[in-house]
Symmetry: C2
Subunit: 222 residues, 2 copies
């Protein structure tokens, strides 16, 4: 391994170590206040924001929610998600390819957690970087769109290995894009046997009911 | 800005500085040998490999090509691209979210450049990290799939700002996924006015002829 790369890795490990400490602080803080936390990760354009648009409407009678959205630039996603009864905060990261536990900590500093059951963090669209950054969440959900192809869990294993739940999204157009469902399920069971998998369409709502029930059960254990 | 993040940025700048030096060495080396170099970047699943499968067949009578493919894991892409008359080398980066100039240098160490006109580097699928890493290429091509949504240039501006050419891919299913073509072109002309834009389908071949001609003109200036 070249010197430069070895140095970079040592530094990355220190940064990750600091993030882990901040994530533990977040986790203890949220648990103490009874707030269940979700970290939602995927490639750009896999449908995270469309899913949240629907979820905020569908679950608003069952839980009190807030959202923190991460993007390099723009507050497009926060604007899309507002007006659905949940507080929404945008984090813009500039050139940073993932959210970090400290960014979440600062974003929620003015939230009244006593009025909250569930905090959903929509991470920066990226199948690589967010994998190593614990935000203090209870449940990590990775979204894989049928339009991305069935081989992505094999090519980006770290992200899928770290997920509690995997959503195969855009199933309504899986046929049109030639998505090989069996190969995708096989890849997932190989790379991420720990994850519960759901085939859904955030656009049509198909398959979401069972996902919602399981998600709430994970966030609010009896 | 917190101390940890400031330290990280200083380190990133040193790493980028070292990469820039390696990229300059690559560029001088390739120019001296008359090899035109392409750096192909996009989100996971935007269609880079499908594009290359077609391009290698379509251009094999016009130029002698080789490909270096970057992925975190698997040599799926290299296997897809072999048997089309071009040498293909796979780089697996582990957890690194981009290719670096030194990785390319090592991958081509056994290539006979005298037998080559064009080297195409397919980067790791990621709309963030590869933006800052010059590989010594002549032409950087960013691929945006209609399935990702028309707002991606605004949300990931650094990548599109650094591209010489932008391919809007999967135009054959743009209608099905509700892609807003005008909004996409407007986003691109705002964020990346320097880039020539092509609307193509790597799957059907639509729109590729003009792209090929322009690409070869950029790589082999008269």
């Amino acid at each position: 391994m070249p010197e430069a790369r070895r140095g970079t890795i040592a530094i990355e490990q220190r940064v990750l170590g600091r993030n882990d400490e901040a994530a533990q602080r977040n986790r203890a803080f949220f648990r103490e206040r009874g707030v269940g936390v979700v970290n939602l990760v995927s490639s750009p354009g896999a449908g995270k924001t469309t899913l949240l648009e629907r979820l905020l409407g569908d679950l608003r009678e069952r839980v009190r929610m807030a959202v923190v959205v991460g993007d390099l630039q723009t507050d497009n996603d926060a604007r899309r998600l507002r007006g659905k009864g949940a507080r929404v905060e945008q984090i813009t990261t500039g050139t940073v390819c993932h959210l970090e536990a400290d960014m979440v900590w600062r974003a929620i500093s003015t939230f009244d957690l006593a009025e909250l059951d569930v905090l959903i963090i929509e991470n920066v669209g990226n199948l690589v970087c967010p994998a190593g950054y614990d935000l203090g969440e209870d449940v990590r959900i990775a979204v894989l769109a049928t339009t991305e192809g069935e081989d992505k869990p094999l090519k980006y294993p770290t992200m899928f290995k770290s997920a509690h739940m995997v959503l195969i999204n855009k199933t309504d157009i899986g046929g049109v894009v030639g998505f090989d469902r069996d190969a995708a399920l096989q890849s997932l069971s190989r790379v991420a046997p720990q994850a519960a998998t759901y085939e859904v369409s955030a656009r049509t709502g198909q398959g979401l009911a069972r996902f919602y029930d399981d998600l709430l059960a994970r966030l609010r254990p009896a």
